[in-house]
């Protein structure tokens, strides 16, 4: 599962969450072969953990613009 985990890191919270929603929807409504079902389930578990971790561990990122010069400074 290393592959999808590394792919997970590229996802924003919104992308991960909507994929999770989609997977749940699929598993609840569509008849999928067993191996595909298990794959979807594992992916869904990873997405749920990833989303939770994002929410629990995230730190607010703040950037400050200087509208007068147009320059961008980073800071907190």
């Amino acid at each position: 599962m290393k592959e999808s985990e590394s792919k997970l890191a590229d996802l924003t919270y919104e992308q991960a969450f909507s994929e999770l929603e989609q997977i749940v929807e699929t598993l609840e409504t569509a008849q999928k072969p067993l191996d595909e079902t298990v794959k979807l389930y594992e992916r869904g578990q990873l997405l749920a953990k990833y989303c939770s971790a994002l929410l629990e561990q995230a730190d607010l990122r703040i950037r400050q613009l200087n509208p007068n010069t147009g320059a961008v400074e980073t800071g907190d």
Binding site: T12, Y13, E14, F17, L20, E21, I23, V24, L27, E28, K32, L34, T37, V38, Y41, G44, Q45, A48, C51, S52, L54, L55, E56, A58, D59, L60, R61, I62, R63, Q64, L65, N66, P67, N68, G70
Partner: protein, 347 residues
Amino acid sequence: MRLPLTLQSGMAIEAHGGIGIYERDGQYQLYVDAVRLTGEGALYQEFLRLKARLEAEGLFDPERKRPLPERPSKLGIVTSATGAALQDILNTLRRRYPLTEVILAPCAVQGDEAPPQIIRSLAALNAEPGMDVILVARGGGSLEDLWAFNDERVVRAIADSSVPVITGIGHETDFTLSDFAADLRAPTPTAAAEIAVPNAVDLLDGIRMLAGRLNFALQQVSADLRNLLNDRSSRLELLSPAWRLRSDRQLLDELTGRLDQAAQHRLQLMQSEVRSAYRHLSSLNPYAVIQRGYAIVTDHAGSIVRSVNQAQVDDVLDIRVADGMILSRVLSHTDEHPSEGGSDERK
């Protein structure tokens, strides 16, 4: 009378009331029944005039209000870099939804320089790619303090923003024209931040619920598959050669039993046949006849002599009697019944 503001020394106010004269001391007294800061009345009149004009222009129409993003990933803030409003907003965002990226466009929020700076900040945030929502905020103050947000240029800039705008200006009771132009008006800066982002606690609940549904869905699928498998394997069981073998074995056992019984029966039958044959044989025993005085004559070859024709003169014959044999020689023979086959030779 309850004053709407705290009077301080040096304050310029406009007061309304009646004058009383205390004749004995020659003093005039002012009985005030209304008081306001100097200029506020004029400002309020200005506010109402501008509001009516912009309203008539359609700037505040409900149809102009855009839906706000549920989970903004990029959020702009237009406020003073040093104000309490900014800290309130940042604390609220940190607590509720730290996933959002905050772009701060600081500006003066009071005074003559405020309107152009607010407009520049709005423009700068509109130029940022991927901006989801902009908060325009300021802490509480007098109508004069908040006046920059009633500036027509600011109000128009908010209405023209391509990114949805939430205002959180002053306190609950304060309304500015910027509030009317915004897509949503929040009563305070903190409330604006709360409206702008979801609550992480609710989101975590949502994730837990989805994870629960995920687990349930998998259980459902595996239960369905297990039921199907059970059904098929019991149907396979019914088709198993074991059943066939079992019935074949039964048939074989039955046949073996019948065979045994038949053989037994046949044997008994044969035994009784033998017994009855033996009884019959016994009744035919020639020796029993001999006991009664008859004899059996045999020739030299052992053949029983039944006819005179079998014996020639001088032939030696054996005569068996009950208790032994008599060896004899034929002297003569007489044919008494030539038409009949012959009879025992007698002596």
